[in-house]
Symmetry: C2
Subunit: 497 residues, 2 copies
């Protein structure tokens, strides 16, 4: 069958396959930048990315897509195809609405702001950062406005929509106010009651940490024929389908830092590996946004790992890889480490109980930044005041305060809530999963994770984006929309007295 | 200045910059396939490469390039721009002449043949290989015919032209008949007179071999801010300008295998690193074909390394990295190893004296294959007979005979002569370089290679493709066109009694 005889819907699939391949190439280049590229090659790699972005833009902005979508709507389509068409239309409408000049200005401004931030942060140089941040923020507002008009939602909601499709800020407001006070109480009581953090420090050589991490990845179901584990400054998971790559960094005196990161990224990776192969080149075959993605990493990092039963499994692994430290590896010492709570300044180092408070801080502030109710120059003060209110600590400088994250300097507004929405979703899924799998804890303690990940595959992974919103997916998987009570129950159960 | 106000020549530069970026992206994907990619990702990576090839084809086949070239010819251009325009016209004419269907059939057939070869070779399965090879060879003939019509040369010459622009097979015939008998005599006398190969075997850990190789690369001028050293099954050099990556493989009982390969690839890499930065995105800024490229690797591998003075330098390095083996590292033992001559079956393992005979074999046979004077089914017999005549050995099977190389299964005909043309060119350059640099040998023995590589940069590297043919470049660099006498003198001097 040649191109000419394809139905409008099938022609659209051909076009969106091209976009997927373009995205995969860009992802590979991003991975190479973080993991492999010699330092001087950065500007060549940026040229590559900009060139691919331009080709992508030309393809998605082609007005013939509009006619194809119109015609495809009268075809007889199955549920997957219908959802795919719906996502195509959304992508096309958004791409059409954003003028190419604005898009290019935004890419330039955010690339610039990110580069300035990388220099300015270590020097605590808020002034330089702010100068690059302000124009980029203004462009973000313009993009948010246009996205909002297309999607018929508020500008900030249109930004959230990029990471959790259909999620509204009024819902997030409600979720966060339902959990904030409770979490603050739990932090307070936990800090008062917990034992000192057991000391696991020692010498843990990098290659053995890598062997340990790889073995745990394999046990969880990561397929090394379809993926890799490498080193980068900022750990991440990238790629898709048969080429999923996660990264970590090793601290030779503390194996838990890398291991916990590797386990987190493995949650992301297995989601990608289990997406529906048949739809791998189409919008409907991709992950359902970052909130669901984080729910999969948080399922592993919070629901699965920091438990007594997982520590039984881990203890075996640690004794095998680090026999000289075996006396340290009691399940109590391990669990005490991974559930230790502390009021701290840095989000990426925060424990799971204080973590959502870090997110609420950023969520509140970025809403104000996008709606122009908070000026960039007032950001440090606003950050420090709210940090004190939420977490009870105040940064002494901006580099460990409002300049600590890569998200805003890269123009990623609306992303932060995904982390806590992901934690909430993970709790809800885990609650159902534990009740569906009879001997859940026993399986974990002996390192049998297949049934758990099959459950996740059936309930979440294999559906790609066909439910189009996280709530629809959760309804299917758990019988209810996102409900923060599961998360509260989980935290109360784990950290309450 | 916007696109619209650019002159025709400048518009062409914009178009060819896109093609360069596309090629760089494809090169990165090829590197990833060989070095990094998880095994299952191959078909995703092939999708990426085919997609990029299609975009490339659309750009280069755009007929508006024809008008731009016509108009650019009446512009006032400098020498570099003139050469660039000439190369653009050649590339465009070739791309225009080859029907897109034929091109796609060829890509498919050569990808298929390569894949079949990878399976068939270890099984010595000539029949399966031949079935995939025949249709690909036929498509190569068709392409060669068309290229020949465009370039006004014989079909096989049009294939050579891809690797050594402008070089004709009648010249190669003359070169090879000038050297063949002499080399065969040298092989015979050397084998009769040489001492047994000194035994350097021992345990040489991979990480120390890597440190040694990296240090030698650095001493030769390889800039690790602009490049990398990695591992792959088949060593190669890829990338361009600020992103040059070479690969090797390690044999822990024989450090010379990897080291000699690394030094060879470093010659390629430094050529790429020294190409004119200003022209890095244009045809005129690229390397002047594979024969000149091989001349740079062979300059290092043959002219620089297997010498008494380099062994003095290397001995220091080896004593530092492998002190436990220091007693083995006499300069005589080292030199005896790297200049040991043997009649052998496998090209990639051959010494420098027998190597050109391996090339002549392939050259003779591929000329016959392309002109349809030799049938694929008769290839094994023809190979074995000529192998016996040229090298005095006969393969016992096809896997170590006519199926040993990747070139033909990949559709790379006309490539093989480049190796020996490169050796000849290296000898001619080295002869001039040694006479231009007063204390050449002393500098090498103490590891001061800067002046030698500056000479190569000035004479060869920095000119990119602006001389458009190797002979023009050699005229500029050495005062004469390619002259095999330098190579013969060099071999006689080194291997004669």
């Amino acid at each position: 069958m040649t191109q000419k005889t394809l139905s409008p819907y099938k022609k659209l699939e051909t076009i969106f396959k091209k976009l997927t391949i373009l995205d995969e190439i860009s992802n590979l280049i991003h991975w190479d930048i973080e993991v492999m590229m010699p330092p001087s090659a950065l500007s060549m790699h940026i040229d590559k990315l900009q060139f691919l972005a331009k080709i992508r833009s030309e393809i998605i902005k082609n007005p013939k897509i509009y006619d194809l979508i119109g015609n495809a709507k009268s075809e007889t389509l199955d549920k997957w195809q219908e959802a795919n068409l719906q996502l195509m239309e959304k992508n096309y409408n958004l791409a059409q609405a954003i003028p190419i000049k604005l898009e290019q200005k935004f890419i330039k401004a955010s690339t610039h702001c990110n580069a300035v931030w990388r220099e300015a942060r270590p020097n605590n140089d808020f002034k330089s950062f702010a100068a690059a941040f302000k124009p980029m923020l203004q462009l973000t507002r313009e993009m948010a406005q246009i996205r909002g008009e297309v999607l018929k939602m508020k500008p900030y909601d249109a930004l959230i929509d990029q990471y959790d499709p259909g999620r509204k800020s009024y819902e997030i407001d409600a979720f966060f106010s339902a959990i904030q006070g409770k979490i603050q109480d739990l932090v307070q009581s936990r800090i008062e009651s917990q034992s000192p953090k057991p000391d696991l420090r020692g010498h843990y050589p990098e290659d053995i940490q890598k062997a340990l991490g790889s073995e745990c990845m394999h046990d969880l179901g990561f397929d090394f024929d379809r993926g890799r584990l490498d080193i980068s400054t900022h750990p991440f998971c990238s790629g898709s389908m048969d080429d999923i790559r996660i990264t970590t960094r090793y601290n030779t005196s503390d194996f838990l830092q890398s291991l916990m990161g590797v386990l987190h990224e493995t949650g992301h990776a297995i989601y990608e590996m289990n997406l529906p192969k048949k739809w791998s080149n189409q919008p409907v075959g991709s992950a359902l946004g970052m909130a669901i993605h984080e729910s999969q990493s948080h399922f592993v990092e919070m629901q699965l790992v920091p438990t007594k039963e997982f520590m039984v499994y881990l203890q075996q692994k640690l004794n095998k890889h680090f026999p000289e430290h075996a006396d340290k590896f009691t399940t109590d010492a391990l669990l005490g480490n991974v559930t230790h709570v502390e009021r701290s300044l840095i989000r990426v180092e925060a424990d799971e109980l204080t973590y959502p408070l870090h997110i609420m801080l950023r969520y509140q502030l970025e809403k104000l930044l996008i709606s122009d109710q908070l000026q960039v120059d007032d950001l440090p003060q606003a950050w420090n005041e709210r940090m004190q209110r939420l977490l009870g600590v105040t940064p002494t400088d901006n580099k460990d305060g409002c300049m600590q994250d890569v998200h805003w300097p890269s123009g990623a507004f609306g992303y932060f809530p995904s982390y806590t929405l992901g934690s909430m979703t993970a709790a809800q899924l885990a609650s159902k999963c534990r009740s569906d799998i009879a001997n859940y804890s026993e399986q974990v303690s002996v390192g049998h994770f297949q049934e758990i990940f099959s459950w996740l595959k059936n309930k979440v992974h294999q559906h790609g984006s066909r439910f189009t919103t996280a709530d629809n997916l959760l309804l299917h998987a758990t019988g209810e929309r996102l409900n923060p009570q599961h998360y509260l129950d989980y935290l109360q159960n784990k950290y309450g007295n």
